[in-house]
Amino acid sequence: MWDYTDKVKDYFFNPKNAGVLNEANAVGEVGAIACGDALKLMLSVDPESEVILEAKFQTFGCGSAIASSSALTEIIIGKTLDEALKITNQDIADFLGGLPPEKMHCSVMGYEALQSAVANYRGEVWKDDHEEGELVCKCFGVDAGLIERAIKMNKLTTVEQITDYTKAGGGCLTCFDKLEEILSNANAEMVAEGLLAEHEAYRVGAADPKKLKEKAQAAKAQAAQAPQPQPQQTLTQISPLAPMSPLPPPSAGMTNLQKIRMIEEIIEELRPHLKKDGGDCELVDVDGSNVLVKLSGACVGCQLSSVTLSGIQERLMAKLGFPVRVVPVGRNAH
């Protein structure tokens, strides 16, 4: 499973500030059950000082989602709203001693919930994200605003990272092109603002996430029509469940049996010559035009066995009148 830090485990097993806060005057809800995680953040804010007096959460999600939510409440209690708004998802991850890259979206969820709760307190709606409002990843309901914020706050430079931080692109990945566009635009802006070195910036179609691109293409291929049938190779009739014939159609008017007998005879004729040199050769099988033979004695491992084999091969072809290939077997003992 995941390599969680002890602090993540501690905040998961013994979450602080879990539950419902009845006297909450600021509530932020993000995520959805369909997406696998959801967070409800409840705050009690002092109207005078805007200090967060109490914070509680309810989270549906994995271990790191629960730990991130709990960590968030610990970080913000006692802070003013303005101070709290400065907290980034990285602060949440750092508080927990780090999160696995694939789980960074849990910290982003905490950040988003906090922004949402403050907006709720101030009677604002999170307009800005829905203004350009485009829903990019339909699988996980992630819009362009969230993706852009995650890119800029965490200096993301690959599409894979966008998925780790926001889940966008974690499903069918048909939004890959859009993610690339958002990423390259955001990176370009960051370069202009001096926040990112030029060589680090992502350019559309540029680089790495070959894996992701492949996945996207697969998804597209699935949606598209079925592939063209392969060109048919032969005109032979196929009877699939019939036993596979060990031999091709008999050549030169010979039946398979005749052919095998003839090969056997030729090899028998050769054996005395090999035996004289301390070797031996026996016919193992005939597989199509391959004649499988077993070499033993001095022939095994002999540097010149290829000479012997080609000798046998030549002899066979001369007698049979069609090409064969002599293949040695039983020499697999490496």
Binding site: F12, F60, G63, P240
Partner: protein
């Protein structure tokens, strides 16, 4: 406290008898079965014995219908690629949406590279195959039907013999991924229409890294690995002899314990399942209650996420697995549960307990004692849980 292992569909403990059977083949009997000398010959004979033990478990008719492989994945890949190559004027594959990735990923790859057209047959909410869609997909263009015997996540069993007969009517080859079924349900291949069957050693108390592909005598076949003439030229590469001996022994033991799987193990599973359903509100069984592996129990716990349950179980010394997204590294829940249309409120909280003959009554007791507390704790944290069994609370994010 002694750990409780309930993840036997992931892998099993190697039976001590299997280990003792294997040990001499690392040291004294280290020979290469292809060698002519005596070191090789005795190993060759043992490999042959193991083949016989495996054939007895599968009820095959002839010798040499078993090809040893490195595991279930290699067996599946070999079967699928062999069929396409053997029947060059057919280019369609019929499979299901709930297959193991060893089959699904290859099918998707073949589709993407234009080498095959693939029909993915759907399942109903119990995981049962859509027979009508299956019949409709069959034609004389189909080179291979590949369907799993039993599902690894839910244990749902497909009516494989009948599905194979239908495939045969169209002249297609029929392969089944029986990795989860072998050793748990009786199998007799000799009078079936099944041409190929994959199995994996480590799912039946043999070691990892060994498996086998059954190829019916006479069925068309092309090897995946070419090289030496091991396995009669059907799978090149020096045999993994200790593991093969282990697989043979494990097959013998599986046959001997078959009735135990169907009685004692099944009774344990049923007590576990019944106990959980009774003690915990808002949960239900995923899979076909009537046609299911005797050892598998997959339960959806609503309004919680599976990883949280597993973390708590792990701390309590209990090993199980989850169909949730978070544990797998993917962001979506299991493709099997999605194909079954299990609602998201439940799919994320699905836990699989898979038993084996190693499990005892105390294991079930431990789970039954532990699970209600875990669910209570996690549901108290969930924004969707209302605190009673009336179902979920509406959750309306202002911003999502």
């Amino acid at each position: 406290m002694k750990p409780v292992y309930l993840d036997n569909n992931a892998t099993t403990r190697v039976d001590p008898e299997v280990v003792s059977a294997m040990l001499p083949f690392f040291s004294e009997q280290f020979g290469n079965p292809s060698s002519i000398h005596s070191f090789g010959a005795s190993v060759g004979a043992a490999v042959k014995t193991a083949r016989g033990q495996l054939q007895a478990l599968l009820g095959t008719a002839h010798d040499h219908e078993i090809i040893y492989t490195s595991g279930g994945t290699e067996a599946d890949n070999t079967a699928i690629l062999s069929a396409l190559e053997s029947l060059p004027d057919r280019n369609e594959i019929v499979t299901s949406k709930v297959e193991h990735p060893a089959v699904l990923s290859l099918c998707q790859h073949l589709e993407k590279t234009g080498r095959a057209k693939v029909h993915y047959i759907g399942v109903d909410s119990l995981g049962r195959i859509d027979i009508e869609a299956y019949r409709a997909a069959l034609s004389d263009k189909v080179a291979l039907v590949t369907l799993m015997w039993a599902n690894n996540e839910t244990g749902t069993i497909f009516p494989i013999e009948g599905l194979a007969d239908l495939a045969k009517e169209h002249g297609a080859l029929f392969h089944t991924d029986a990795v989860q079924a072998v050793g748990k349900v009786p199998i007799s291949l000799k009078d079936s229409s099944i041409d190929m069957l994959s199995l994996s050693g480590h799912k039946l108390h043999a070691p990892k890294g060994i498996g086998a592909l059954y190829v019916k005598r006479g069925a068309r076949f092309k090897p995946l690995l070419r090289g030496g003439h091991q396995e009669r030229g059907r799978r090149a590469g020096t045999e993994n002899t200790p593991a093969i001996i282990g697989l043979g022994k494990a097959a013998e033991l599986a046959l001997a314990h078959m009735s135990e799987e169907q009685t004692r193990v099944k009774a344990l599973r049923d007590r576990l399942e019944g106990g959980l359903l009774q003690r915990i509100p808002n949960c239900f069984v995923n899979g076909d209650l009537h046609d299911r592996l005797p050892n598998t129990c997959n339960i959806a716990f609503e309004y919680v996420e599976g990883e949280g349950i597993l973390l708590h179980l792990t701390r309590a010394g209990i090993a199980a697995s989850s169909g949730s997204a978070c544990t797998s590294g993917s962001l979506e829940p299991s493709h099997v549960l999605r194909a079954m249309n299990i609602p998201f409120t439940a799919a994320h909280g699905s836990i699989r307990f898979s038993l084996s003959r190693d499990n005892v009554d105390e294991d079930v007791d431990r789970v039954l004692e532990t699970m209600p507390g875990i669910l209570e704790k996690l549901r108290a944290l969930s924004p969707f849980w209302t605190g009673d069994d009336k179902g979920g609370k509406e959750f309306k994010p202002v911003y999502a």
